[in-house]
Point group: C2
Chain length 384, copies 2
Amino acid sequence: MNYFSSDFKLGILGGGQLGKMLLYNTRKFDINTSILDGSNEAPSKIACNAFTLGDLMDYDAVYNFGKQVNVLTIEIENVNVNALEDLEKEGVKVYPASKTLRTIQNKATQKLFYVDNAIPTAPFSRFAYTSEVKEAINNGGVTLPFVWKSAQFGYDGQGVKIVRTIADLDGLPNVECIAETLVPFKNELSVIVARSASGEVKSYPVVEMEFHPEANQVEYVICPARIDAEVAKKAEAVALKVSKSFNHVGLLAVEMFQTEADDILVNEVAPRPHNSGHQTIEASFTCQFEQHIRAILDLPLGRTDSKVGGVMVNLVGAEGYTGNVIYENIDAIMKMEGVTPHIYGKKQTRPFRKMGHVTIVNEDLNEARRVAEEVKKAIKVISA
Amino acid sequence: MNYFSSDFKLGILGGGQLGKMLLYNTRKFDINTSILDGSNEAPSKIACNAFTLGDLMDYDAVYNFGKQVNVLTIEIENVNVNALEDLEKEGVKVYPASKTLRTIQNKATQKLFYVDNAIPTAPFSRFAYTSEVKEAINNGGVTLPFVWKSAQFGYDGQGVKIVRTIADLDGLPNVECIAETLVPFKNELSVIVARSASGEVKSYPVVEMEFHPEANQVEYVICPARIDAEVAKKAEAVALKVSKSFNHVGLLAVEMFQTEADDILVNEVAPRPHNSGHQTIEASFTCQFEQHIRAILDLPLGRTDSKVGGVMVNLVGAEGYTGNVIYENIDAIMKMEGVTPHIYGKKQTRPFRKMGHVTIVNEDLNEARRVAEEVKKAIKVISA
């Protein structure tokens, strides 16, 4: 198929910020793009060829949209998978595959997939309802402390709670869930693997993620991770195995724990461009968004190594502020060396809402990390 | 003024490919953008907040558009300067200034500006009509060979001819023109200077341009230029002087000749992002489009040095092909190391039409240059 022709259409489910960054990269190749999103205010509207308003969880909306494109991809996992399955049967190329999305959408199923494929992951128990967990604790089936996770999809750390006492279970939704062993870890790592339709595979360097303790959101992403080469090699091998096990096409971000014993455990995956790859825009030979497009269009993959060291800082709404957003001191951070802000264009801020990110690049990663901390200290996402 | 607010509006005159690449970079800062262009098919339409159809040379079209924005910039020099002058008087920030555009739009006036400001440039004579040049040759005022240039603006080398015999003048339009001494040169160089509204200045490394002998279009841009450090220093100093003389705000691309005697002579300038800066997208710490936005919005300028060596290849329509474009072997070039194509999305090709560009980056500039030649050999912009 000639992707560089106006007869070809790429469809994207979801018109958020990831979709928008994906769209900028489709322009490099002059790819004809269509977006489906549930909001007329979708950020991607500004950068696509055609926009369709429709609910991503609605069978008809997804099916009818998908019938009009040649290749269909996603920027968010919460989409109607039955529609994708039917579209695949009817010849539409759907990346990631419906089967992969179905596995990932449920955290219990995702964990079972790792077990079935001999991929290291923290031990866990599965429950139909949170109410059953208490009983399991009482009869010794589950040991405190553990991590409670809602099986159905949670975004940005919602649906995850560390349970240290039985009382911590109070107030949690009574839904399908898992109780995962709380494994002490040194680092949270991520590897983005790109795999093309014809099976070419390239992985990005291992990155290190520092989380904000309260919001459970990534605060810094550091590329490359400051870890032993042996550990990095192990993490990369695990990530490649996950991508291969899913027979994945496109990007797969594999989030992992590096345990105290330097074991690697898969936490979860995202079958798309990911927050842990934003620094690739400035730091890598090929940015993750361009790479995803190359992969799903079965074009040759680009170099995944880095030109320079990169650190990414998430810009989230400051606590105590809700309303029309102001980026305080943005001039000050733009004065610092190697700093590029990416403002997502959301008009309203609220505590911990993702409002953008800032990339800091430098030949010396330690210097980039130092500047990142200055950026973090200086900028405040507040309201008017 | 708070640029990061929805009350602020940036206007761009011209909706071509440069405007489009500028727009992608406004998204980083969530700047509200409006475009004026004479064609409903303008490439920029896909990436702006608001699009106005109107003739860029028409006073009313430019004036009425300009009244609705806070800062006005251009992506093409051929615009109605009287309207810009009135907008400046009424408080709109116009970058580049109307005065600069008026000076640049006429090549004779531009040359006189260099003379007046002690900026080195090739000697020249000015004529009201081409017909007067023949007489000047006959009475010894002009010596063969020389470069004939139409004073009024020519695009992509139109309006320029090397005159070796009197017969070469036949067929040239009988317009205001200059006859410039043909100075033998080793290299054509370019330096892009960024200057912000409050006077902060940064210049990009000197780049080397290799021209296609027939089409008079840049074939390769090589960054940094493979020249002596002393010559580079001289070229940079001249470019900075030109920017300062214009009291310029925004990017100024200064094209220069390196003579056989290693003197630097200014050829011409472009007061905007420029073809000789496209490799900055992949190779530099701050791409030229982001830098232009930083400069005209009086934000701090970004680093102008390079992460890696960069070579840019223009993709122009092959001779003998006119019609619906096909990019033959695009897969093959994407397989090469460090190659990113930028396809501009023009549906029709014709000989020497600019259809896109390809950037090749590598830690080793010589390797990038080698791959660039392979790219050039492999890809063919032809028609169906």
